[in-house]
Amino acid sequence: MIIPRLALKNLLGAGLRTWLNVVVLSLSFVLIIWLQSLYRGMGEQAKEAKTDIEFAGGQYWHESYDPFDPLTLEDAHGVVPGPVQEKIDKGEATPILVTQATIYPEGRLHTILLKGIDPQQSVVILPSKFLVQEGEEIPALIGTRMADSTGLKLGDWVTVRWRDAVGTFDARDVQITQVMKTSVGTVDQGQIWIPLEKMRELMSMENESSLVVVGKNTEEIPTVQGWNFKSLEFLLADIEYLVRTKTAGGSIMYIFLLLLAMLAIFNTQVLAIFRRKKEMGTMMALGFTRSKIIQLFTLEGAMHSVLAAIVAAIYGIPFLVWFAKQVGPCQRG
């Protein structure tokens, strides 16, 4: 027990030199934990928001539907098959019809995705209730990003033009009844939501949809002809990949930070060995063996890390708790 006692005594006795190293190292610890939790938190929040607002328990895609290829959308629709329709009728799923369209706000042309959703649905957390149609006017729902990029505001009218089921161009004015604030860009950017039944009627696509979102806790997923079920895992794969990439990028920074801290300690210890040669000689004269002196200096270096962990905990835990309170809980819808 002599060596640890002496190492601690030397460490604390060195004063400012020790504290400088300890503070640098503890900063690295806190930064690493903070960044790591930030990435994980961002990933978790993105996944949770995407699940609640867009994916729910998974999606049936029409076999031609490819969200990354808008040119295929013209053909990506079909009548919802019986087993899936049963789930829709029970409120366990909700169909969405998607097509390409153009709008002309302030005289400028914007290509958008026109999406139809049931105003009464409760499968995804979207403010679809604002799409309840009371007269002949077609209500429309957009997100804040869409509003910013097009200059549209609550109550504005905008002309929407699309091709119907037989390829004929048609156009109608819609009124913005709600501008929603959402953290999920893929239900907002470049798209307008209108009532599903109205959209089906305008496009001559009775009972058709491009995809069907299944409720979160749906256990039974029937296989149906012409439609592919995409699991939540598949739908969230992009975000998982993004988080992994960010984490890998972050790891390079962690390595850099740790190397910096280790270099500081190594440098201090090496300099200390030269500076403390006399001290070592005295210790040897007093009966210390070489191995005991090596143990003492090594332990002294290692104790920097322990001390840094304690210091990091002292200011890091309150900081991380405060930070978590500032940014969380995640905002939805």
Binding site: L12, T282, A285, G287
Partner: protein, 240 residues
């Protein structure tokens, strides 16, 4: 008679390489010391005084010849055995005091006892006794930086005597002290020598130290040039 020597060196040689040549720090030194000796090695710088103390103190080993200290052949000792010999039986006093700066006076004196597996009470008793010997019991909690040169060297003396060694090696112990402190330290050492029969071997140029010696060995170029014994010196180092 052979076995009663505390230290016995035979044809002791220590060389250091310097480029293509060898420097002879010690060149055939034959010296014997008895328990209770109060002896000093004198001579110009580079004459081999410190080298001799280092070998006798088991901090270094001879290139040739042999050095037997308290029955142990220095050249045959392992690092561990040498460390044990220093820890148990040999005290060192240095020119620059060599106190450990982060420890208090008490801890500096206690340091040497930490390896001896003594209880904390035993350690405390010994440390306080040693500090009382050097009249520094009231400075036990001070740090070395708060002490004067004389006080620092007295702490070094306390550290050397606390384990009650048979041999104390003092390398230029008064070189950094003024006359008054030098005499105080030397009085303390001589008192220890008389009361505890601790053997002292000095390496010194200092006339004040030389005045106290009962045996003066003059080294020149690593060889013993003169070995003088003054049997009739009193406590204060004065001739009777």
């Amino acid at each position: 008679m052979e076995n009663s020597f505390l230290i016995k060196t035979k044809d002791l040689v220590k060389t250091y390489p310097m480029g293509q040549t060898k420097i002879f720090a010690l060149n055939g030194v034959n010296l014997n010391f008895m328990p209770g000796d109060f002896a000093g090695l004198v001579g110009p710088s580079g004459s081999g005084k410190t080298t001799f103390l280092n070998i006798v103190g088991s901090l270094d080993s001879p290139t040739e010849g042999s050095a037997v200290v308290m029955g142990k052949k220095i050249e045959d000792l392992s690092h561990k055995q040498a460390a044990w010999l220093r820890n148990k039986n040999i005290g060192f006093i240095f020119q620059t005091f060599n106190l450990l700066p982060v420890y208090t006076v008490y801890e500096n004196v206690e340091f040497t006892l930490l390896l001896l597996n003594l209880s904390s009470k035993e350690r405390k008793d010994k440390v306080m006794k040693a500090l009382e010997w050097v009249k520094l019991a009231d400075r036990a909690k001070s740090k070395p930086a708060q002490l004067s040169g004389g006080e620092s060297q007295r702490v070094a003396v306390a550290r050397a005597i606390v384990k009650e060694p048979s041999l104390i090696l003092a390398d230029e112990p008064t070189a950094n002290l003024d006359a008054e402190n030098s005499f105080n330290i030397l009085d303390t050492m001589e008192e220890l020598n008389r009361e505890m029969e601790t053997t002292f071997i000095f390496a010194t140029h200092d006339e004040k130290v030389i005045k106290y010696l009962r045996r003066k060995i003059t080294l020149v170029d690593g060889k013993v040039a003169k070995d003088e014994v003054f049997e009739n010196k009193n406590v204060k180092g004065e001739d009777q």
